[in-house]
Symmetry: C2
Subunit: 179 residues, 2 copies
């Protein structure tokens, strides 16, 4: 945790997979400005100082009109020389969210379509990205065996020197092993 | 995965927990320039364009002289206004590594001490940071129940538009569910 002074090298993007556990559907969008219409999870770039979960919830609401709450972190992608990132590297994080509302009111500037789609269909369709397809299969496994099999849970812990708090994500530990 | 052009907001630091499964020991260091001497995992900032696992392996070797190989991603910490980060946010990632060599030849400029320490001792001692202590307990659980209980495994997948590859980390899926 010690460091020499560095500089920011990564932009951080966050997507939210809002899963309706009552019917096995997940909220997906198709971008307006892409040549290939592929289903994906709503998301976007973190604002400076914004927590991962807050970005996911905000972006899902801005794109789809659906309100949700953060549950866990599912996956991380690191990509260098990302076409949209102008030489920066890109950290793309996918979170699992639970819906608080269900009515879709999507942003027509950003999205062409927005639907609650069956996870089984999302896991099968070719009209999606490799990463979305992979996460759909991960979520199906979570629905079947319990989300504790696929989740990284979040906790806030105090920083040693500053007295501030940070967010730590890892596999759930039994309460007796936490401190 | 769509984005408006952004800018880099995060520095990425990576630490490597090198676990010797034959005896339950882990490689830890104490920084030379800290007031509190706390055991922690060796690590440092990613170079531009460097993969997470490569940073962990490189930093472990530079600090300790131990060669290792990447096994999995264990934990992520997000911290804003990090004291060493000058207003940037900080993404700190802890990886699990396996040792390829065992002899310690540590960097005396960076480190005061370097040892193979029992994970049980690291999990108990007060001479460590909260995050190191937590990860020690996570690793003990991995030793006991199998590391597949705590790991996020890495795979390379092709990017849709650029034809380049990216690294995706998530909980292991059975091979039949991967594609």
């Amino acid at each position: 945790e010690s460091r020499l002074p560095g500089f920011a090298t990564h932009q951080v993007g966050v997507a939210g997979a809002v899963v309706d556990e009552s019917n096995g559907k997940v909220l997906v969008v198709q971008d307006r400005n892409k040549t290939k219409n592929a289903w994906k999870f709503p998301g976007g770039l973190s604002d400076p100082g914004e927590n991962i979960g807050a970005t996911a919830v905000r972006e899902v609401f801005e794109e789809t009109g659906v309100r949700s709450e953060f549950r866990s972190l599912l996956s991380i992608r690191q990509q260098h020389n990302h076409p949209g990132a102008f030489g920066m590297s890109d950290m793309y994080i996918i979170c699992r969210l639970s819906p608080l509302t269900y009515d879709i009111n999507f942003c027509t500037q950003e999205c062409l379509r927005c639907e609650w789609l069956d996870l089984t269909e999302l896991a099968k369709t070719k009209e999606t990205t490799p990463i979305t397809s992979r996460i759909a299969r991960l979520l199906l496994r979570g629905l079947e065996l319990g989300f504790d099999n696929i989740d990284l849970t979040m906790e806030e812990l105090p920083a040693v020197y500053s007295g501030m708090f940070y967010q730590l994500y890892h596999r759930q530990l039994p309460p007796t092993l936490k401190s």
